[in-house]
Assembly symmetry: C2
Homo-oligomer: 116 residues x 2
């Protein structure tokens, strides 16, 4: 068992093509005990975006701070602090904070599919 503040985890820019002003931390990953799924922390800074993309991994998301437009089949909707977002496998999705004045921060849990 361990307890660690999320800020103690290394932060790196998200490399997805078209992403802007997005930082990611692996909170619980394969090297830190995750067996079936991993917990990551994302921060999309004001002016930032994760553009529409898709992949087989579903997302289980909890929003910690701020708000952003969600891109995809719920286009026009906004996710904000205390919201839960579920993104099924292979569904196009993205998060737009380009008009925002504060960071949009969220927890995103993904399966470690290569283990299956």
């Amino acid at each position: 068992m361990y307890i660690v503040n999320y800020k103690e985890r290394d932060e790196a820019p998200v490399e997805l093509n078209g992403s802007k002003n997005v930082m990611m931390r692996w909170l619980i990953g394969k090297r830190t005990g995750a067996k079936r799924y991993a917990m990551r922390h994302f921060e999309i800074k004001p002016g930032g975006i994760i553009p529409i993309h898709s992949h087989p991994e579903e997302h289980e998301i909890f929003v910690l701070e701020g708000e952003a437009k969600v891109l995809g089949d719920v286009a026009g909707l906004v996710a904000k602090k205390d919201d839960v977002v579920f993104v099924p496998s292979d569904l196009p999705h993205g998060y737009d904070n380009t008009k925002g004045s504060k960071s949009f921060r969220f927890i995103c849990v993904i399966p470690l599919l290569e283990n299956e």
Copy 2:
């Protein structure tokens, strides 16, 4: 895809023997899209406790509010807002807010083992 405030999910008391003043919500469960793992929200109110227990499901936890003593092999340590907690399979663990003056709230992700 869906977006829902966590408070829109039903809340029920935790029935674990010895638990006191603990409420739980299934944020993303089998009935709401979860395939491999589920996201739950726990609130241990001031004076509340989840006593030491264990089970095969590992926990990936993110603390949203408050603080509590963590019971088990990190006895004496405190988990607080913005902390990440990992509890491996079958490791005894619990959370003690009996001396607390505010709620201890956290996200806890568990595998849906019966699907494996």
